[in-house]
Structure formats: structure tokens, C-alpha cells
Symmetry: C2
Subunit: 344 residues, 2 copies
């Protein structure tokens, strides 16, 4: 591993994602990426007695499918790096308990998807593991209940609000010894906390946009690359309000984002015309995880994409910090992925 | 870095702790380790309007003192690896916001102290940073309010209950290039989730003891060392109920713990004879952090100890998982520290 600039790790061994899984709920299963998911639950309850137990089931399902797709057994997995949005990241803990692997709990709100992938890739690249798993999950009803109001309460939302994805995504990463093929992880840029003083928990996109722009700027400053190096740069999840703000901030920084396709996971998983209840778009750690490990990895494997940069954003507020009048600290972590695991 | 067995990382470059700080509240300041702390607040309020703001102040104070003791400026710090017990680890996030460094949030309940040190050491050892900070904090009143009852409610506790430390500990780690001296981090053993079905949140020591025993057993299996390699093995925090259980479990595993001194941070920070309100002993991520970064590092620097193994334990429950009848998943992470940063 090499440190580039201050915030970026270049993984010289190019760790390979040998298996991944994306598992979602019924609403995501009705969206445009439906055919890319490994499993779609047909109800939000998933046969469980509480929303929290449903979220755990979702996470456990994507862990077991990722291991199956990787062709390894539970006991071969060496490190489980995961987190979620629940207080004390209890869903990740229960999923790690089930699989029995050494566990590193991480938290970055919706940026957990790329935080866990960056840490798991570092472990593998540094020679600390043969197999590591990175994963996260979110459930619409657990998040609404914990951060806002229980869904059953039926409260209305402003047009800037986003809709938490019911979904989980996991990836199994291994050393690139030339025997296994798959998309490779080439670098990670770890973000700083950005907090411009916004306080509205119903407008996460605007709060998180500066964090996304800051991490993208740091990535290009540290690596010396330009956006044209990538076929796609995708944030997760700024949605319809945040993405234009990030574009404006990057333009001010002089980053030529027009060289590439620049999109957002929060605008990809639902059909906003048809699924109007998602308002500004999707959010939740399950969103960028399911879009990356379901949709984007499949496009990399098919050769439709060669190089992508996934920039997962997190709004690191707690209900209590909001109630106490604090602004919303945000962060974004970027991971670059390439097709093909042959070259080293 | 080398992987030993399945769960252990050996840090070949021997990252150096060039500065650390332990900051505590008034009750810890009256305990037997008082003279080893860098700063003692004289009230639990710390001049703040809420317990959460006080916890943040505690964390921010130990970050700034650790950087001062390390002789580096805020802007030189490359990665901030931290977490705490608050929902969405908001205290770590605010502390990272203040210092402005790239931020990796981690969560392992009271094991966060050694989880963050293991991850920060890996980053430095793998060449991912020149300077990384590991830290955590807890405040008695925030934890009581969030996990049990607000202190003001005056509820009584059973004799197995532990008392959450008001404290924060941080360490600044750097590459061992021979120019800086200080205690070195030699290895880390990452624990698995252990859950034997205990459900009593007022008896964390008993719930966490199997995790401590499992990680200690894994450490010796992976490294081929025996307990006599260390002058001291210290868990954090099993307290008076959990430590004897861990001893019994380790005896059953055939680990000869009688070769060394085996103690617990939860039994070191208060004078249980005089401070009877701590009942079974101390807990909270601030406990093992303040004991390690205050007391133990000073003993390593003075040459009173040569090699120690700190095994931080975490009870990964949430108030909601407890209310829903779940048992308490636990984990323990061990980090070995040696005096002197000269040899490589």
C-alpha cells in the first residue's frame, strides 16, 4: 500500500472482489435495477416480528450470498468489516455473530459502504487477511423509526427528503495472486468531516454535497488523475437536491467533471417518476452498497465499465445531536474499482 | 504486516506511540491512578449545557493534548480513527470535525479503545499514513441516560453493575523510522463475536468474559507465545464479576495465565473500597483508553513494564436489542505494546 498525498491509499496488490451480493426489499425490487439484485424480499416484514429483526435478516442474507458467490465457506472468512445506521450498529454485529468471523465494526452512516470496503481492502492489501468481507445494510422502517417518525405515524415530508433504501450489499475481497478473477479495488480516499452549518435532517443531500465535493477534489489532487480516468463517478446518496450542489462545488474547484459520467446512487435505484414516494431520491447505507455490489460490479464484470469511482456520503448526525441544535457533520469516502483481476 | 494464524496482525515496522493523553472526570481524578492523567475536569458538567456536549469536550481535550504531547500540529494529523458509545458515535465525529483530519469511525462499544488502536497501527504499518490518531471517550451521565436511566432518576443497581468512566484517551502513532521514541505497537488480535445467551445489561462483566478469554486464547494460538511473554495482561472492562470468569475459562483452555500478572482496567481506575458507588468496578470505552494511555504507557516509558497485552472488551448491545429480548453479543480486541521505539 502506498499513501498518495494525505488522504488516499493506493492498493498496489489490487485486491479482487471475488464475490458480492445485493439483497433488497420489495420497493427496490420494483425499481430499474431489479434484475441486478441477488435476492428480493417480497415484503418489508420479511417474516420477522420487528423491523430491526428484518434488517438483520437482510444483512445476514447478503453476507451468506456474497460468501456463496465467492465460493468460500463461513469458516474461511477471516475478517468481517461492517456497520449500519442502527444505534450501536446492531445489525452488523448480529450478522457477524452468525458468520463467526473476527469483527471490526465501523460507522460512517451512509458512507459505511465505502468505509468498510476501504478498510477491508487495506487489510487484504497489507497482508492481514486472505479473505475479508465488507458490508452494510439499511431498512426503510428501522431508519424512519429511529431518525424521524415511525412509518405508521404517517408524517409528511418536504420535497428535499430522501427515502431510505431497504437493502444490503456485501463484497468478499481477497489477495490478487492471479488465481481469482473479478473487479479489483485500486485506491481509496478517506474523507474529512465537512460541516457547513446545515441543520435540516430532511435535507441530507444539501448537507452532504460539500463532503462529496471535498473528497472527489482530494482524490484527484492526491492521485494526479483527472475525472476522465473514470467511465463513471457515482456519489451515494446526494439525490436530486445534493447532486447539482456537488456539481457546482466541483466546478468552482476547477475539477473537470464533464470528462466523465457523474451520477448518484440515490437517483439510480428507484424510478422517481413512478415511485413518487421516494421524493428527492434514495438514501441509506443499503443504497450505495446495493447499487455498487449489485448493479455496478455487474457492469464492470460485463466490460460495460472499465473504471469507476464510488463516493459514498454519510450524514453523521444523531437524533439527539439534532435535538440539541447541532449542525450535521458529513463525510464521504471514495473507492476506485476496475474491471478484471488478472494484472497485478 | 504479517497475518499470524487467522486473527492476529503482526506489525513488523513496530509503529511508535509518540504521544498520548488521558483526560478524566472528577471521580476518576480521585482514584488511585490520578497522577497519571493529563487533565482532570473538576465537574461532570465541564461547563457545558448537556452531558453530550461535556463528553465531546472530554474527547476534544484528549485529542488536543495527545497531539501536543506528540509534538505535531492538527494539520499534520492524517487519519483520525475513533468511536464512542453514543448513538451514531457523535462524540468521535465532533472531535474529528474539530481537528480536521480524514476520519474513520469505528464502533466496538468498550473495545473501541483497542479496535481504533489496531486499525490506526495497521494504517501506519502498511504505509498508509505518517501520523494516525486512535481515540475514544465515554461519560458516565451520557451512558446512563442512553443505556439505562438518567442519573437524576436515582435508580438502584444490582451488585454486578459497573460504573461508566468519564474519560477519554487518545494516542498518536507514527512510522518507526528510528527518529522518534516511545512505546511500540507489535501486534493486534481481532476478536470474534461471542454470545453465550446472557441478557442482563447490569451484568456486562459476565457477558464479556467469554469474549476476553476467546481473544486471549486466539492471541496465544496465533502468535505461538505464552502468557509469560508479557509482564502484564489487562482486560478492559470485566470488573469484579467478569475477571474471575475469564480466569476460569482460560484455565479450562489450558492457557497458563499464572505466568504473568493478569488484571482488569475496570478494577484499576477507582478505589472500590472508598468509591463504593462504582459497585463491581469501572466500564465504558473511556476506562481502558484512560488506563492504557495514561497509566500503562507511563509505566512502559519508565521501564516498569516491558511488554503488555491490552484486551479491550465490548458489550455490543443496544437498548432496543435488549428491549426486544436479544442476548448480548460481545467482542474483545487485543493489542500488544512494548517499551522503547528504537529497534525495528
Amino acid at each position: 500500500m502506498k499513501q498518495l498525498g494525505k488522504q488516499t491509499w493506493q492498493f498496489d496488490s489490487r485486491p479482487v472482489i471475488i464475490g458480492s451480493a445485493a439483497v433488497v426489499g420489495p420497493e427496490e425490487g420494483e425499481g430499474p435495477l431489479s434484475s441486478d439484485f441477488d435476492f428480493i424480499f417480497d415484503s418489508l416484514e420479511m417474516g420477522e416480528k420487528s423491523w430491526e429483526k428484518a434488517e438483520r435478516k437482510l444483512f445476514e442474507k447478503s453476507v451468506s450470498l456474497a460468501l456463496l458467490n465467492a465460493g468460500i465457506e463461513d469458516k474461511e472468512l477471516e475478517f468481517f468489516v461492517g456497520g449500519d445506521l442502527m444505534n450501536q450498529i446492531i445489525s452488523a454485529t448480529f450478522a457477524a455473530r452468525k458468520v463467526g468471523a473476527p469483527y471490526l465494526g465501523v460507522f460512517g452512516a451512509c458512507s459505511t459502504s465505502m468505509e468498510s470496503l476501504a478498510v477491508a481492502s487495506m487489510i487484504v492489501d497489507a497482508g492481514g487477511a486472505k479473505y475479508a468481507l465488507a458490508g452494510t445494510a439499511s431498512h426503510n422502517c428501522t431508519v424512519e423509526k429511529q431518525f424521524r417518525y415511525p412509518t405508521e405515524y404517517g408524517s409528511q415530508k418536504p420535497p428535499t427528503a430522501q427515502y431510505t433504501v431497504t437493502g444490503s450489499g456485501c463484497a468478499v475481497i481477497t489477495r490478487n495472486d492471479g488465481t481469482r478473477s473479478g473487479p479489483v479495488v485500486t485506491s481509496a480516499t478517506i474523507g474529512k468531516i465537512m460541516d457547513l452549518g446545515l441543520k435540516d435532517p430532511f435535507n441530507m443531500g444539501a448537507a452532504m454535497a460539500p463532503a462529496a465535493a471535498d473528497t472527489i477534489t482530494a482524490h484527484f489532487r492526491d492521485t494526479g488523475l483527472s475525472p476522465g480516468h473514470y467511465d463513471l463517478i457515482v456519489t451515494g446518496d446526494l439525490a436530486s437536491v445534493g447532486l447539482p450542489i456537488a456539481k457546482e462545488l466541483l466546478a468552482k474547484e476547477g475539477i473537470p467533471m464533464e470528462q466523465t459520467e457523474f451520477s448518484d446512487c440515490g437517483l439510480m435505484i428507484y424510478d422517481r417518476e413512478r415511485q413518487k414516494y421516494v421524493i428527492a431520491g434514495a438514501s441509506g447505507c443499503g443504497c450505495s452498497a446495493a447499487v455498487t455490489y449489485g448493479h455496478l460490479l455487474k457492469r464492470l464484470k460485463k466490460g460495460q465499465l472499465k473504471r469507476i469511482l464510488v463516493v459514498a456520503t454519510g450524514a453523521l448526525l444523531s437524533p439527539l445531536s439534532y435535538q440539541q441544535g447541532e449542525s450535521i457533520p458529513c463525510v464521504a469516502h471514495a473507492v476506485s474499482l476496475e474491471s478484471g483481476g488478472e494484472q497485478s
